[in-house]
């Protein structure tokens, strides 16, 4: 799990300093950290990360790494988050665009009404053209007739599929992660291992840490540990998701987002890769359904 992270030396003081520097993501006061150390827990370890594509604008985002193998919270360390992903302008309109797209692209409208050709009958001219003093009519199923066919009605199947440009999709993810971090709804855990498969454990955990009530756990593998899989399966508002399924709608749908360290690494790596690809111009071209 921590193979990509270089573990710093055991420096409880540096963690305290880091907490002082922290302005936006403070989750714990320095005294709390010291208390943990004096209680006999292993002191928090600052996990230093080498961020790819570093920025030079002085923005800094950090977050605590927590455990979930006990109900009571224990801080394992503090890590840097990439500011291009966790500190971008919170564009609510871009988030809406993503949600709108996610709602629509899978939608197929199956409502269909009959036009005049599809109605039964109406082949005969109802009365002669001239001589009766009545308006000329050609069919009893013409759209102006009662019980006539519908002109310009909905035709099935009508797909609502469209593709949002890739950079809007990426920006939506970055916005959403930034908003979750800013609102203190993003938590990072070392692993998804819990000691029991009882759903009450997860409920107690969320209660104790003021998560949720709805929680989305994200790991980088698509095979979750057995205990949490069984426990979360019985709570409808707690779900597990692999990194490749992470999306704006699900993040909005859940109150709290819990990332594992490995998932965080993977998300950052993937988003940064797409932001800095050499073929960005080609990626941004209009989506064609025939493209592979």
């Amino acid at each position: 799990m921590l193979r990509r992270l270089v573990m710093g030396a055991l420096r409880p003081n540096s963690c305290v300093q880091a907490a002082h520097r922290l302005s936006t993501t403070t989750e714990s006061s320095p005294s709390e950290v010291e208390q943990y150390s004096s209680d006999g827990f292993p002191p928090p370890v600052v996990l230093s990360r080498n961020l790819e594509f570093p920025t030079n604008d002085g923005r800094k985002r950090m977050a605590w790494v927590e455990n979930i193998d006990t109900v009571q919270e224990r801080k394992l360390g503090m890590i840097d988050l990439h500011p291009d992903i966790f500190a971008v302008p919170p564009r609510i309109d871009v988030i809406w665009n993503n949600v709108h797209w996610q709602k629509l692209y899978r939608k197929v409208n199956l409502v269909q009404v009959n036009n005049r050709a599809e109605m039964i009958g109406g082949g005969r001219k109802p009365w002669q053209q001239k001589g009766l003093g009545r308006a000329r009519q050609g069919s009893i199923r013409a759209p102006q007739w009662k019980h006539g066919g519908i002109a310009h009605g909905p035709r099935a199947p009508t797909t609502r599929f469209y593709m949002l440009p890739i950079h809007t999709r990426l920006y939506g993810l970055r916005c959403m992660l930034s908003v979750k971090l800013a609102q203190d709804d993003l938590h990072i855990v070392n692993a998804l291992d819990i000691p029991t498969n009882e759903p009450s454990y997860l409920e107690d955990l969320a209660e104790e840490r003021q998560w949720g009530p709805s929680v989305l756990f994200v790991d980088d593998t698509d095979v979750a540990p057995e205990n949490i899989a069984i426990a979360a399966d019985q709570i409808k508002h707690m779900n597990i998701m692999p990194v490749y399924g992470l999306n704006v709608y699900s993040m909005l749908n859940h109150d709290t987002l819990v990332l594992t360290l490995a998932a965080l690494e993977r998300i950052e790596k993937q988003i940064l890769y797409f932001m800095h690809r050499t073929d960005r111009a080609k990626l941004a071209e209009k989506f064609k359904t025939s493209q592979v």
Partner: protein
């Protein structure tokens, strides 16, 4: 806490209610109402008037002058652009753009530059399906061009050749047929497809004179005449030609492709396996003869 800028928005979010599915909205005016009305007058003309081009296509056809005889019909046939859709096109790349690519490390000037390297930057647009036959290197930014390169382009003019050779570099103009261009413009996709590298065909009849011209540094020109023309051009433009024989990068600067070759160092007929990192070479005499001839 930041008082201005989007950092202020992020810090405001801390105290605002949680962003959820129910409290997000698009920018004002983003959702446009459907054009087609419903109801009693929904099936009418939708404001497009009655019949004609305005009702049907909303614009007049090109060259139409309402009721006058169109200009393009008032003279007899003048075929200036006859067959323009069949002519070869060379999308331009200026020397200034090339220098910028080198300055920002998008192109490595220490290696020979050809269409592959230019397309790999992702900054140059070319589509062989639109009769694009390669790069036209233009002279914009020639005065500030300082790089020493070995470049192969598909079209170049005299000032461009002078600008490259003044810095001690070399330039070649080379023709590639469309199947080769597909391989050159998206080389990763081509190598992943596992197809044998195609052999380069000779230029069409009307391009033979350009690509055999030593003044244009054609790839089919006599090398001795090319080196003579390098001296002539240096005298014409008034610069002293740097001696590439004494250059430490002499090997790189004089690397050229065979007229049948499309990639440096790889021969036509070979198949590159990127996964196993091996190259398959045909041993069949018939195939070997085909790819050589």
């Amino acid at each position: 806490m930041a008082t201005r800028g989007y950092e202020k928005a992020l810090s405001m979010l801390k105290t605002l209610p949680r962003v959820g599915l129910f409290n997000i909205a698009p920018n004002p005016g983003f959702v446009k109402p459907s054009k087609r009305g419903r109801g009693q007058h929904g099936g009418d003309k939708h404001g497009a008037g009655n019949k004609g081009s305005k009702a049907r296509q909303n614009y007049m056809r090109t060259g139409y002058e309402t009721s006058l005889r169109p200009y393009y019909l008032s003279f007899t046939h003048e075929p200036y652009y006859l067959g323009h859709h069949l002519k070869r096109q060379y999308p331009p790349l200026s020397l200034g753009q090339l220098q910028l690519m080198i300055d920002t490390d998008r192109i490595n000037a220490e290696k020979p530059i050809d269409l592959v390297q230019i397309c790999n930057t992702g900054l140059y647009k070319i589509n062989p399906q639109c009769k694009h036959y390669g790069v036209h290197l233009t002279d914009e930014g020639a005065d500030s061009f300082k790089a020493k390169v070995n470049i192969e382009v598909q079209w170049a003019t005299e000032p461009v050749i002078a600008a490259v050779e003044r810095n001690g570099g070399t330039i070649t103009t080379a023709f590639f047929d469309p199947p080769s261009l597909f391989a050159l413009t998206n080389v990763k996709k081509f190598l992943e497809s596992g197809e044998p590298i195609p052999k380069r065909m000779i230029p069409p009849e009307d391009a033979i004179s350009y690509y055999t011209d030593p003044k244009m540094r054609g790839y089919l020109a006599d090398p001795d005449q090319v080196s003579w023309e390098r001296l002539v051009l240096a005298q014409k433009y008034g610069y002293s030609l740097p001696k590439i024989e004494e250059d430490p990068n002499y090997e790189m600067l004089t690397l050229r492709k065979d007229p049948r070759q499309i990639f440096y160092g790889l021969e036509p007929g070979w198949v590159v396996n990127l996964i196993d990192r091996i190259i398959l070479k045909p041993t069949d005499p018939e195939l070997q003869e085909y790819y050589k001839g």
